[in-house]
Every structure is written in structure tokens, then in C-alpha cells.
């Protein structure tokens, strides 16, 4: 039996109660339901706000990050007053202000193969609002292994994708993407940028699918992938089929327990900010400043996109964007010392891998990127 609605709740949800597809029974069903939102960023913000206002009785917010000024262009659950606070605490406060009648769990921890099962067991549905491949594969496998639906949304600049991966009734994420692309082909939001409104559009569709699923109404996105482009204002649908050979939901699954996805994806899922710092192949801003000051001959290579140079640039550096680096290696002199840099160290660490693989030996990358340079050396440069 679903819980009754109080007199106050009947007023709060009256616009739902007026819709025959929801009604009193449906609203009680929502009150009894629970949802885990993986990621409280761009997508997680609208998802959390709409699920809380819709009266989903129990919401879990999972994130381990802090609210940063650069988040506020799209992460609308947070505000300027929350800068520096834990994201889950900031979002929880906002959700309880919106709807004090629900339970909101602030899960301030990374999502890993060791805690995912324990966390997920408290929730009926899982919404993938994460920003990296390790978490997406983990979320998918978790949903398949526990039989829960995975409400998937992903964004890039002006493009968005939405689907419902529910292996009991259709394909899973791995049926579509058996394995992730190599890290050098995958720019993150922090590197590539994203239109602030985009996660609003995509997250709102994810939240719509969650509410419909819990109410058991309408046609869902199970077996369909919605492709949205904000520039063209186009919505296209493609059909997704279950892959009989899928490693996790196929007839003979090879994945029967959660595995360490950081290894599997080749990129760190826990820290996508600063990039690779191993094997003494990094240089700090202070070290670089010292060496430039004493006149060391260094080939500074900026691997950001050309339009980013208008925001900040280093005197004497030349620009070879990461995406075209492999095809422009002949422009670099292997006998000369090369120092690569980008915005925050993520792309330059990929560039470093490319140069090392091509046989370059005198190469390093700038830890923390030009943003670190702007914080520590050239403080008149903006951080972005």
C-alpha cells in the first residue's frame, strides 16, 4: 500500500492530481518511490529539482565534489552562496527548501565498484548524471546486475543524448557502447565546454522519463536513443536493440560482478581536473617560471583550441590543438625540450602520451595548466 497524502500535500500536488494519468494513486506512488541521482552537476541539477518538486519521496544525491564558480553557468541547483560547499550538501539544502516533505540523502563519496551495490540497494531507479566514462560503465553494470532501470543522459557542447537502459525490457548502455573511446579522443566538459542550457534540456527529459516510469504511463525511451542538437534545434530518435553478445546483459555474460573501471577506461574517474602527474614528466608553474627566467630554451606548446587563446595565453607559446597533434608531429623538433600545456593539465597529459608514444623523450607537461600559471605566476591572467 502506498502512503496517504496529507492535506498540505494534496494542495502542493494539486496540478498532478488533476491529471488522470497521475491522480491521487499516482501521487501516492511517487511519494513511496526512491531515486538515486549519480552526479549533482549539470544534469543532476534539473533532475534533482524536478524529482523533488514532483514529490519523489526519497532521493539520493551522490557526488564528492565542491561547488565551484565555473559550475554555476549550468548547475542550477547550487547558488553563489554555496561556493566552496560540498555539492551534495548544497543540493540537499535547496531540495529540502523546495520540498520539505521528502527525504534527501547526501552521499558525499566517490562511486566505486566497492560501494556501488551498497548505495544502490536503497533506491528503485538510478539516474546517470555523471560526467565520466568509468562512472557511466559502473552505473550501467550496476543497473543490469541489480535489475534496476538506468535513466541515461549525456552532453557535449550543443549535443545531448537520452535513453532508458533497462536490461529486463531492452538494451543496456554496453549494448550500444561495448567499450569507451580511448582517453585521447574524449574531451571532458571541463576541456570542451558545454552550453549552459543544454543539461537543462537533457536533464528535464531524464526526469520526465523517471516520473513516467514510476507511474507506469506513456511510451518510454527504452530501446530508443534521443539525439538532441541545440544549434540545429533537432530531435532525432534511433532504435537500440539488445546485443545478444553483450558482456553484461547478453546470453553469456562475462561481467558478473562490478570491476575496477578506472583501470578499464584508462582514465582516472576520481580526478579529471589536473591530469596525469606520474613518472616525473610534469613541471609546476613555479619551476617553469624559474626556467624561463634564466633563459632555458624551451618549446612551449599550447594544446588548447584556438579560441581559448583569447581568454589567456602564454607569451612565446605556439598552438597545436590536441585533436590535430598526431598529424602535426613533424612540426616538433625531438632534440628540443618541449613543454606542453592546456587549461588545467588534462589535455596536455594526453598530448604527453601521444608524444611519448611517438618517441619524443625531452617532453613534459605543465601541471594544472595555464590556470595554475594564472593563479601562481601571472596573476593578471584570468582563470577559467
Amino acid at each position: 500500500m502506498y502512503p496517504d497524502l496529507s492535506r498540505q500535500e494534496i494542495l502542493r500536488y494539486s496540478r498532478h492530481l488533476l491529471i488522470p494519468e497521475v491522480g491521487l494513486e499516482g501521487q501516492r506512488r511517487l511519494k513511496a518511490s526512491s531515486a538515486l541521482i549519480v552526479g549533482t552537476g549539470g544534469l543532476g541539477s534539473p533532475v534533482a529539482l524536478y524529482l523533488a518538486s514532483a514529490g519523489i519521496g526519497h532521493i539520493g544525491l551522490l557526488d564528492y565534489d565542491l561547488v565551484d564558480e565555473s559550475n554555476l553557468q549550468r548547475q542550477i541547483v547550487h547558488g553563489t552562496g554555496s561556493l566552496g560547499k560540498r555539492k551534495v550538501a548544497s543540493a540537499r539544502e535547496r531540495l529540502l527548501d523546495l520540498n520539505p516533505g521528502i527525504q534527501v540523502d547526501a552521499l558525499d563519496e566517490p562511486f566505486t565498484s566497492t560501494n556501488a551495490m551498497r548505495i544502490a540497494e536503497n533506491y528503485e531507479v538510478i539516474i546517470d548524471c555523471s560526467d565520466n566514462f568509468p562512472t557511466r560503465y559502473l552505473t550501467n553494470d550496476l543497473c543490469v546486475l541489480t535489475g534496476k532501470p538506468n535513466f541515461y543522459g549525456a552532453i557535449y557542447r550543443f549535443d545531448g543524448q537520452v535513453s532508458v537502459f533497462y536490461s529486463k525490457e531492452g538494451p543496456c548502455y554496453r549494448c550500444l557502447f561495448p567499450e569507451p573511446p580511448p582517453p585521447e579522443l574524449v574531451p571532458s566538459c571541463a576541456d570542451a565546454g558545454v552550453l549552459g542550457v543544454l543539461p537543462g534540456t537533457i536533464g528535464t527529459i531524464q526526469a520526465t522519463e523517471v516520473v513516467k516510469f514510476l507511474l507506469g504511463i506513456g511510451s518510454s525511451l527504452i530501446g530508443r536513443l534521443l539525439l538532441y542538437n541545440a544549434l540545429d534545434m533537432s530531435f532525432e530518435y534511433v532504435n537500440l536493440k539488445k546485443n545478444p553478445d553483450c558482456k553484461v546483459c547478453g546470453a553469456k555474460p562475462q561481467i558478473t560482478a562490478l570491476v575496477d573501471y578506472f583501470e578499464f577506461c584508462g582514465v582516472p574517474g576520481l580526478d579529471h581536473g589536473r591530469g596525469w602527474t606520474g613518472r616525473g614528466l610534469t613541471i609546476t608553474s613555479r619551476q617553469l617560471a624559474k626556467r624561463l627566467k634564466r633563459g632555458d630554451k624551451i618549446d612551449l606548446v599550447d594544446v588548447r583550441e584556438p579560441h581559448e587563446l583569447a581568454i589567456s595565453h602564454l607569451e612565446g607559446a605556439r598552438n597545436i590543438p590536441l585533436g590535430v597533434l598526431s598529424s602535426r608531429l613533424e612540426e616538433l623538433d625531438p632534440s628540443q625540450e618541449i613543454i606542453l600545456f592546456c587549461k588545467s593539465g588534462s589535455r596536455s597529459s594526453r598530448a604527453l602520451e601521444i608524444l611519448l608514444a611517438a618517441g619524443f623523450q625531452r617532453v613534459k607537461h605543465l601541471s594544472g595548466g595555464i590556470n595554475s600559471w594564472a593563479r601562481e605566476i601571472a596573476t593578471d591572467l584570468p582563470v577559467y
Binding site: I155, Y156, F177, N239, E305
Partner: protein
């Protein structure tokens, strides 16, 4: 052409390509834009597992793969693997 790959085709949203099959069309695309090659195929020429091509609303994996025959006005959609959130 999905946004993540547009920078490799001079920013174009649609790229005209020639070929009677999906495989031929992809070959033509990689010939026109060699920089696209590592994003689409491995060194042996096999389509990478994270690349999904749809003819209309159907994945070519559910049709005849790279041997799928094309008509002149057909549109192939390249669905990229994106992770932003």
C-alpha cells in the same frame, strides 16, 4: 556529423560522401578527412567498437554492417560516445 567530430571535418554538420555501401562511404570519408581515421577505424580498418552508425533509425550492426547497401539520398548518422554531465 556529431559535434565532437566536427572539428575534424572543417566544422561541417553534414559531409557529402560517395559509395554504394556503408563501408565504402566511411572509406571515402576517411580519405577526404584522414584525420578522422583514428576516430572511426582501427589500423586494420575495422570500425571501432565505440562508433555507432545509424541508417535512418537503424544501427548498421542490426543491418548488414559495413556491407549495408545505400541509396543516393540516404543519411547516415554517426552517434558518438559522450560522457559529459
Amino acid at each position: 556529423m556529431p559535434a565532437p567530430l566536427r572539428s575534424y571535418v572543417n566544422g561541417l554538420a553534414e559531409v557529402p560522401v560517395r559509395g554504394a555501401t556503408v563501408g565504402a562511404v566511411i572509406g571515402d570519408l576517411m580519405e577526404q578527412y584522414p584525420i578522422m581515421r583514428p576516430h572511426l577505424a582501427d589500423p586494420a580498418g575495422t570500425l571501432r567498437p565505440f562508433v555507432n552508425l545509424f541508417l535512418g533509425s537503424n544501427n548498421i550492426k542490426d543491418l548488414q554492417g559495413l556491407d549495408t547497401l545505400l541509396n543516393p539520398e540516404d543519411v547516415l548518422i554517426l552517434v558518438p560516445s559522450i560522457a559529459g554531465g
